[in-house]
Amino acid sequence: MDSLLLNSVYILMSLALLVAFLRLMKGPSLPDRVVALELIASIVVGFVGVHAIDTGVASLLDVAIVIALMAFLAAIGFARFIERRGTAND
């Protein structure tokens, strides 16, 4: 795989990570942060996919499966907290 291409893909996704994290820092409400966290999880899935292509290690995809299947639990936990606590800024 062309390394320039791969690198630019990596860089795009890294940028995405940073931008998403910026939202997480800015908030302003907790749901905003959670949305950012969810997005970061998705980006990590992409990262893993590209990485699998980069290294030729298909087993890495299992990591992506786990994220795809499990990462949303955190969001559910946050949502549950927000609803029960009744405030979006905590």
């Binding site: 980069d54 290294t55 030729g56 290690v57 087993s59 890495l60």
Partner: protein, 114 residues
């Protein structure tokens, strides 16, 4: 890259220490999480970083000697799980402490010392 990661480890470590000196028990717990992450990363970094060669043997192929060192990975895995257990205990502890002491200020919790 190891040196870059060393800076990461040091930052995580500093943050962990800082949070462990706070008076709020919740911050203390965050400090504990940071601390275990720092320790795990330290082991990972100090035993050398290898790109793109996980310690998996492909069926029917002789193992490559250039795969990443599997031993520290096993150690870190153990450490991650252990610190997860410890952390779970710690968070419930602070919750219970808050329940009985009615404050999350650690400076209000010095009856047992003085």
């Amino acid at each position: 890259m190891e040196v870059v990661m060393a800076f990461v480890v040091a930052t995580l470590f500093s943050c962990a220490l800082y949070m462990m000196m706070r008076r709020s028990i919740v911050k203390l717990v965050i400090g504990l999480i940071l601390l275990s992450n720092a320790a795990n990363l330290l082991i990972f970094v100090v035993s050398g970083l290898t790109r793109g060669a996980p310690p998996l043997i492909i069926e029917g192929v002789d193992p490559s000697p250039f795969v990443a060192d599997p031993l520290p990975q096993a150690l870190i895995l153990t450490a991650i799980v252990i610190s997860f257990g410890v952390l779970a205990f710690a968070v419930v502890l602070i919750r219970r402490a808050y329940e009985v002491v009615k404050t999350d200020d650690l400076d209000q919790m010095k009856d047992t010392d003085t």
